[in-house]
Subunit: 233 residues, 2 copies
């Protein structure tokens, strides 16, 4: 267990068409932990405009991987609290995945900001990625030789992004810890990883009390039925 007494300053990166549970699963855990442990949260984006969940609507037309014949009003938006330019000092950065992570241009500011924070920021203690958020982490070029995992349906795509060939990809893992890097498999795995991280920070009693409040059916770090399902092992 890590002995943390100061307020933990957490930042969550948002980009258009992020996946809902990649953000709100871990945040549900953190919202509950914050009742008894002092932490702050910043939701970070390029600007303060609402950020779309799972799909992006431009001029009334749904766009991107999840576009369908659904009405344009089928969309959810979340408000950021800070821009990258105004981001405060952070101990922890979370990066979600989702269809929008495949948009290299739209996510380049996120990758650039993450690279700067990873490159010598003395405050930064943990970088946590969920799902294809690991693709953004790999694109920083800062995790050469490190162990990491990602979404199993998108595994081979993530392994193809810039600098990804330098990463030691672990196919069968619910999440992977390598020093200050915590990377999870797809979507729901991020919430299991966050519970595991809370255990690491504050002990098993704390993580279990949160898990049962959420009535969450957790998988352990090495439980990964989806690697086999998607033919990766």
């Amino acid at each position: 267990m890590v002995n943390i007494t100061a307020p933990l300053r957490i930042g969550y990166v948002l980009f258009p068409a992020f996946t809902a549970i990649d953000v709100f699963g871990p945040l549900n855990v953190l919202n509950l932990v914050s009742i008894t442990h002092n932490m702050t949260l910043s939701l970070l984006s390029t600007d303060l405009e609402p950020v779309s969940v799972d799909r992006t609507v431009i001029n009334g037309a749904p766009t991107g991987m999840l576009a369908s014949s659904a009405s344009p009003n089928f969309t959810q938006f979340v408000l950021p609290t800070h821009t990258f330019a105004s981001a405060p000092a952070l101990d922890v950065i979370f990066v979600p995945g989702g269809a929008g992570s495949r948009n290299t241009n739209a996510t380049q500011p996120h990758v650039d900001w993450l690279a700067r924070r990873m490159d010598g920021d003395p405050d930064l203690r943990y970088v946590m990625t969920v799902c294809t958020g690991t693709a953004l982490l790999a694109r920083t070029g800062k995790i050469a030789g490190r162990n990491a995992t990602t979404n199993k349906a998108a595994f081979n795509w993530v392994k193809s992004v810039e600098h990804a060939q330098d990463v030691n990809w672990i196919a069968k893992a619910r999440w992977v810890v390598d020093g200050n890097l915590w990377t999870s498999s797809g979507v729901s795995a991020g919430t299991d990883m966050t519970l595991g991280w809370i255990e690491h920070l504050y002990g098993r009693n704390e993580s279990e009390s949160i898990r049962v409040m959420m009535e969450w059916n957790a998988l352990n770090q090495t439980d990964d039925p989806f690697a086999e399902y998607y033919g990766l092992v």
Copy 2:
């Protein structure tokens, strides 16, 4: 399997301090289903102001059950798409839970609107509640004699709300189906229920394809370890 061909019009009720996964777990399922099945979503509130997740911040001070010493900027907001006054015709209404469900005054407009929709709206085919959202459903007075479940940590509180004594509460169930009413246990159970409902609507292949995309570790309808954990059976 229900034979649904027309677009399914879904409405999700939002109130201040709703629980994150109660909304974004089921919506993650629906966002994925909507790639191949035509559906629309409306996010409904009393007005179009951003709605807070898990805690409410008023004049810079966090309030409500989840208030803590965290910074006021530790909060998440979601944008509604419709007010109750402008809500479109709906086939399905979802009601989440959360600390805010205990605020009887703040949620009375939600209860009143739900009661009107349940009282003879020919379009309404399903009412789905997650977690303590069942308390709002019970308060409509429209589910006397019906079977229902709710959050296990808050079970006895929900049984104490107005009109709840007329409901047949099922303690041990991940979710309960009684005709057009689908009610789930706490937080994560809403996502299992939504997957079960997708199976009911579109078949097991569809619900399983969504579940594995989400790398979701589901519990079945009768699997409920939390009823025992909280001493309800």
